[in-house]
C-alpha cells in the first residue's frame, strides 16, 4: 500500500483498498443506538384507564401520551405535532414502568417534558398536574392558580390540547357549575374516569361547593376537608359567592376562587 501511485489504476486501487480498511472502531449496534437516542425520541405502549395508549419521550421526559389505532398512526401524529421521529429503543423500560404505575393510580413521579408548550400552557398544566386523584377543580380555579384569573376559557383550550392526558389529569378539571363538561376523548369517558377515581359526578353537578357551620369554612366539594364533613352538617352551594354571602370563608387548603 505504501508503494507510490504510479498510474491512475493503482491510485484508484489504492484508494479502494484504503476505503476497505476503514470501519468504525466501536460496535456498530452501539453506534446506531447512540445516534437514535440523540436524534429521535423513544416510544412505548402502556395500559391505562383509557385503554392501550402510546407514550413518546425525549431525554428530558414524557412529551406526548395518546391512544392510537396503531403505532404507525401514533408515530405520524407525533411527527406532525412535534416535528420529531419516534423509534423503539431499549433503555426506556424504567420510564415505561413509572408511567404504567402512575396511570394505575400510584404515587410515582413521572418526568414530563413540556418544553413545546407556551409559558401559559405550562403554568396551567403544572397546576392541573397536582390535582389529586379523587378530587376535581373548576376551570376558574385553575385559571386563578395559574396566575391568570378570568382565563377559564383559555384553560379549557389548554385542557383540550393537553399533550400528556392522564399524567396531567385534565379530566379532573370541570365546569365552573360543577358539571363535568367536555373531554378530548369524549364527555362520557371523563365521567367514567372520574367514577373510577371514586367521584360521583352527579353529586357535584350544580353544587360544586360544600360548607359546614362547624368551622364556617366553604370548600370545593371534593376537597379532602369537605369529605370529612358529617352528612347532617353539609351545606351545598352552587357558587362561592352565595357561600361567602352566607358568612362562610374559603378553605385554605383548596382555595376556592371568590368571584370578583
Amino acid at each position: 500500500m505504501n508503494e507510490p501511485f504510479s498510474n491512475r489504476e493503482t491510485v484508484s486501487a489504492s484508494l479502494r483498498e484504503t476505503a476497505a480498511c476503514i470501519a468504525a472502531a466501536r460496535e456498530p449496534s452501539v453506534l446506531v443506538d447512540e445516534v437514535l437516542a440523540a436524534a429521535t425520541d423513544s416510544f412505548f405502549e402502556v395500559e391505562s384507564p383509557l385503554g392501550t395508549v402510546y407514550v413518546a419521550a425525549g431525554l428530558e421526559g414524557v412529551r406526548y401520551l395518546a391512544p392510537a389505532a396503531s403505532e404507525q398512526e401514533f408515530a405520524r401524529r407525533y411527527r406532525e405535532r412535534f416535528g420529531r421521529f419516534v423509534s423503539s429503543a431499549d433503555g426506556v423500560a424504567d420510564l415505561a414502568e413509572r408511567v404504567s404505575a402512575a396511570l394505575a393510580g400510584e404515587q410515582v413521579e413521572v418526568p414530563l417534558d413540556l418544553s413545546r408548550t407556551t409559558p401559559f400552557q405550562r403554568r396551567v398544566l403544572e397546576v392541573v398536574k397536582v390535582i389529586a386523584r379523587g378530587e376535581v377543580r373548576p376551570y376558574v380555579w385553575v385559571a386563578g392558580e395559574a396566575g391568570s384569573p378570568g382565563a377559564s376559557r383559555a384553560v379549557g383550550n389548554v385542557m383540550a390540547n393537553n399533550p400528556v392526558p392522564l399524567l396531567v389529569p385534565c379530566h379532573r378539571v370541570v365546569r365552573n357549575d360543577g358539571r363535568t363538561g367536555s373531554y378530548a376523548f369524549g364527555a362520557g369517558e371523563k365521567i367514567r374516569l372520574l367514577r373510577l377515581e371514586g367521584i360521583a359526578p352527579e353529586e357535584i353537578s350544580g353544587c360544586p361547593y360544600v360548607a359546614t357551620p362547624m368551622t364556617g369554612v366553604v370548600c370545593h366539594a371534593t376537597c379532602r376537608n369537605a369529605k370529612r364533613i358529617q352528612p347532617e352538617n353539609r351545606r351545598p352551594f352552587r357558587n362561592i359567592k352565595e357561600a361567602t354571602e352566607a358568612g362562610y370563608r374559603p378553605c385554605k387548603v383548596c382555595r376556592p376562587v371568590v368571584a370578583a
Binding site: F5, R8, R16, A25, T40, F43, E71, F85, S87
Partner: protein, 188 residues
C-alpha cells in the same frame, strides 16, 4: 402502500422515505443502519480521527432527522435519502475540519504511530487525499473511497457529471504526482 412503477424506481424513489412518512417506527433505525458505515468512512477519510468521525456522523443524523421531522408528508415521501444524507455529512465534516484548522490541535496524523502497518498505510493515503484542493478531494473521495457512480456524485454535490469527472481525473493525477515525489506521504 401502493406499488411503485419501474420509472419511479429509476427516478431514485426510496421505499424507506415512504416508510418514514407512514410513521413506521422501525424506519429511523433502518436509515441509520443502512448509511452509518459509508458515512463514517467518508467522515473518517476527511477527519482522520475516530472520535471526530463518530461525532460527525451522529451530528449529520441529528440534523437529518430534525429536518425530516419538519417536512410535509409529501416532501418526505419524495426524498432521495442517500445523496441527501451525504450532502449533510459533507457539510458537517467540512465544518469540523475548518474549525479544527482555526483552533490548532495536536497533529492528528500521529494517530498512525501505533505501529500498525495497515493503519499507517491508510493514514498515508488519507493524508495525501487531504492535501488535494477541496473540490478534488470531495470528488475523489466520493468516487473511490465511497464508490459512488458519477450520477450519484452529481446529486450529492450539485455539480454536473462532467465537472465531477474532471475533478476526479485532476485529483487522481495530483495524487499520483504526490506519491511519486513523496512516497511516505504523510509528513507535510
Amino acid at each position: 402502500m401502493r406499488t411503485r412503477t419501474r420509472q419511479e424506481w429509476a427516478a431514485g424513489f426510496d421505499p424507506l422515505a415512504e416508510r418514514l412518512a407512514d410513521g413506521d417506527p422501525l424506519a429511523p433505525r433502518v436509515l441509520v443502519e443502512r448509511h452509518y458505515s459509508e458515512l463514517y468512512r467518508y467522515a473518517f477519510s476527511v477527519l482522520r480521527e475516530e472520535r471526530a468521525a463518530e461525532d460527525a456522523v451522529q451530528d449529520a443524523f441529528e440534523r437529518a432527522f430534525s429536518a425530516l421531522g419538519r417536512y410535509s408528508e409529501k416532501r418526505l415521501r419524495a426524498m432521495r435519502l442517500r445523496p441527501w444524507m451525504y450532502r449533510i455529512t459533507l457539510n458537517v465534516a467540512r465544518n469540523l475540519l475548518r474549525r479544527r484548522r482555526e483552533v490548532p490541535v495536536e497533529e492528528v496524523l500521529v494517530a498512525g504511530d501505533v505501529g500498525d502497518e495497515d493503519r499507517e498505510g491508510v493514514m498515508d493515503v488519507l493524508g495525501a487525499l487531504g492535501r488535494l484542493p477541496e473540490r478534488q478531494k470531495v470528488a475523489v473521495t466520493l468516487r473511490y473511497m465511497q464508490d459512488l457512480p458519477y450520477a450519484e456524485i452529481s446529486r450529492v454535490t450539485g455539480w454536473p457529471e462532467g465537472t465531477a469527472k474532471t475533478l476526479v481525473r485532476r485529483g487522481v493525477m495530483r495524487l499520483r504526482k504526490m506519491m511519486v515525489e513523496d512516497p511516505g506521504g504523510s509528513q507535510r
